[in-house]
């Protein structure tokens, strides 16, 4: 197990390094922070002074290596736009994103998996066909359009949920959370549903195909022949065997939700990190974009690691040496 962890760690560092180079060079090629930040009434000297204050007047290599040496010391740099250290800027917005991501994943699992198992077990029923139709629709709707539709229905027509913003928060251990607050929950619901719809559809399909496959396995036939009652059959024998793909996908999807729920956060004005990423790309705020993506790579590495460990727990045949 230890050598597995070490190997993973080594691979991940290389990945992070490559990633940082790509993003750094990419941002350098595409946009110029001085051009975005300097207003038109800056004189030429002001622009030169600004470039040197931001440190972007140095050659790219020099900028990159100074960035790298700072990162090693835990300093991800200072945002060009906000003039604040980058790490707190991102971390401060993380709880908002995490809350919605977890809620969306929870909704996806709690609705998707039972629907999928039901569909897998009752293949010929009309409800199954309806579910299958709805999941196709849910899959295909563009996210931003669906978000506007949700706002239109729940906020504009029915006026039951707020259209945007985060609402009241409760401070817990110094972190602002919406979970423990009615107003916060109301604000969280629409963005979470918007993210969850796709997850529900995916989990339903995954669980259905898993169920269909597993139900015809010899061990299931044997278990049935042994007279195991149906609830136990589903819980112990079916669920456990369809869980591996579901766990994999859920892990990846969680990462995806945390990292790239930009569209949803933008439409609902949810002050999370996805919105920060988009604003930062827009404003040529390279330190934020680079730090953000490095953190995201690290997060995926951790999530994948957790997923691998979960495999071993779920399937005794899997061992890491």
């Amino acid at each position: 197990m230890l050598s597995f962890v070490l190997r993973r760690l080594g691979q991940s560092s290389v990945l992070v390094l490559i990633m940082s180079i790509l993003v750094f060079v990419g941002m350098y090629v595409v946009s110029d922070p001085v051009a975005v930040l300097a207003s038109d009434d800056f004189t030429e000297e002001d622009r030169i002074a600004l470039a040197s204050e931001l440190g972007v007047d140095r050659p790219l290599m020099v900028q990159y290596f100074s960035f790298l040496s700072n990162v090693v010391r835990g300093d991800f740099g200072t945002s060009f736009v906000y003039n604040e250290p980058v790490l707190p800027l991102i971390v401060e917005r993380l709880p908002a994103t995490l809350e919605v991501a977890f809620l969306a994943i929870a909704i996806g699992l709690c609705i998707g998996v039972p629907l999928g198992i039901y569909s897998g077990l009752n293949r010929k029923k009309k409800t199954t066909k309806t579910i299958s139709f709805l999941t196709t629709v849910g899959y295909s709707i563009p996210n931003f359009w669906q978000a506007l539709l949700l706002i239109l229905v729940f906020a504009v027509w029915l006026k039951v949920l707020p259209a945007s913003g985060r609402g009241d928060t409760t401070t817990l251990f110094g972190i602002e959370l919406s979970f423990f607050n009615l107003d916060g929950l109301r604000h969280m619901l629409l963005p979470a549903i918007n993210l969850a719809i796709y997850k529900i559809c995916m989990q339903t399909r995954l669980a259905r195909s898993g169920t269909q496959e597993v139900m015809f396995q010899d061990y299931m036939t044997f278990a049935r022949a042994k007279g195991i009652p149906r609830p136990r059959l589903i819980r112990r024998h079916l669920m456990r065997n369809i869980l591996i793909p579901i766990v994999t996908i859920t892990g990846l999807e969680l990462g995806g939700l945390i990292a790239f729920s930009t569209v949803t956060e933008t439409v609902f004005s949810w002050p999370g990190i996805g919105k920060l990423l988009l604003d930062s790309i827009h404003n040529a705020d390279r330190p934020v974009v680079v730090a953000y993506l490095i953190l995201i790579v690290m997060m995926f590495v951790v999530i994948n690691f957790v997923v691998d460990v979960l495999y071993a727990l779920l399937d005794p045949r899997i061992r890491y040496t």
Binding site: D32, D40, D41, F42, N83, I151, V156, V160, S164, G165
Partner: protein, 529 residues
Amino acid sequence: MKKTFTTLAAVAAVALGGAAQADVLRMAYSSAPRSVDPYPFGGATTAGYKEHIYEALVGHDDQPLLSTGWTWNSPTSLTVQLREGVKFHNGEPFTARDVVYSACRMMFKIDDKRNLLTSSMGPLTDVVAEGDHAVRFETKNPYPLWIQKMKFLSILSASGGSVPDGPITYDATGDCGITAYPTRDDFENGDAAVGTGPFKHVSFAKEFAVMERNDDYWGEASKWEGVEISSVSNSGARFAGLLAGDYDLIENPTSEDITALDGNDDFDFSSKPAWRTMFVVLDVNAEGAPGVSAADGSAPLANAKVRHAMSLAINRDAITDRLFGGNAAPANQYSPSYRAGAPEMPALEYDADKAKALLAEAGYPDGFTLQFNAPSDRYPNGTRVAQALAQYWSRIGITVELNTQPWSVFAKARKAREMGAFFYGWGHPQGPAQMISFAFATRDKDLGLGSSNYSNYSSEAFDAAIKAWAVETDAAKADEHVGNAMRAAMADMPGIPVYYTHSLWAHRADLTVDGRQDERTSAFMVSYK
């Protein structure tokens, strides 16, 4: 089924719906104010937010605000009389010492980063308190524009714990003997957010700011007990938030939103001509311009006839009527014609046949090839206007290749001077001449002219007029110079003015909005009908 649904919805609405407080104005900005600290950042929303809390010596309407007037002692020395009887939110009286302190703070670099006004304060050599109610500004060159620049010098109270007692002596590093300036946190938690404005800071998070009325305001106190500013960058979501009742007023609704309000009794929109000119910048370099080529290898844009032909080809009325539904006005010069101090100019003609003839006369009967660049995400309807312009030019025989790109990419190409023709917008909060002094003057470091001259334009007549304007402290004479400069530039047309934008607000129908021209949104302009 339907009935159950409605009942359910009603129950949910009662259970979940927050009651709207009638006397708190809830506004949605189109981008988030960047800080409570009034100095480091510009941008319309940051400025719009901070004006609730802080005031300056000169108001956004060019009129005295925390001052009662000013006199030029000499072309390099201005004395500003301060308003008496003004109190800060902390109860301290407003005096000349606060102005000196604020000027020091503006020059002081927090974390080695310059503030919004640092460059504008460059010509200042001294800021001196003359008694409690007058301040003298000394400059190294005549600097009449300082009157406009004072709008951006938000006045802070000099009464914080870290400011030593006694008079403050200004210096250009902003050190001024002050041991420590308030930090970003001091501003965000409200300790340092002490101004003289009609509202007081309550809380500030990046997408949500809350303020309460300043009951001791020196002027007429606001009718609003409080103000909440949300920031919703997505225009669809902003509009939906208005319809859903989350906000009372939103800024920058789209043309589609305005159309959707047609026949809606609950919501309305207000429009105000803004101080922004949208124009096409042309690179008039005789050596040729990037992305522009003619069959004979010449530089078409260097020929004034070509530039006039391109202007003649544009039907400005069609653009303002069709694309903006009348919420924009055809331009006839670089500054909005309604900006105080702008000269009277004739309307710009639209005549495609004449344009074609002029193009032929210039030696391009078969046109030439032009890459036309426009930012895709910067200006309302920007891409559509760019397409329209490209079509107008195609009609007179120019082969136009339209290239739209995100603002950050566009800004880089512009700075690197990689674009021979591009679409651009420029605001004029500091009078009609400030923009053209940067955009069309031959570069002059000492006077700070021509730093954004992407046209590579150079004209003796224009330069002479703009240089005379830059040092003229007499307002009437300055306006004359502006007129001369404007006429010189319009005759050569290094850029083609297209239209003046209008600022738009969508709001509850029971509100009246007396909009501002500087593209900012504030609670002062909103009242009940």
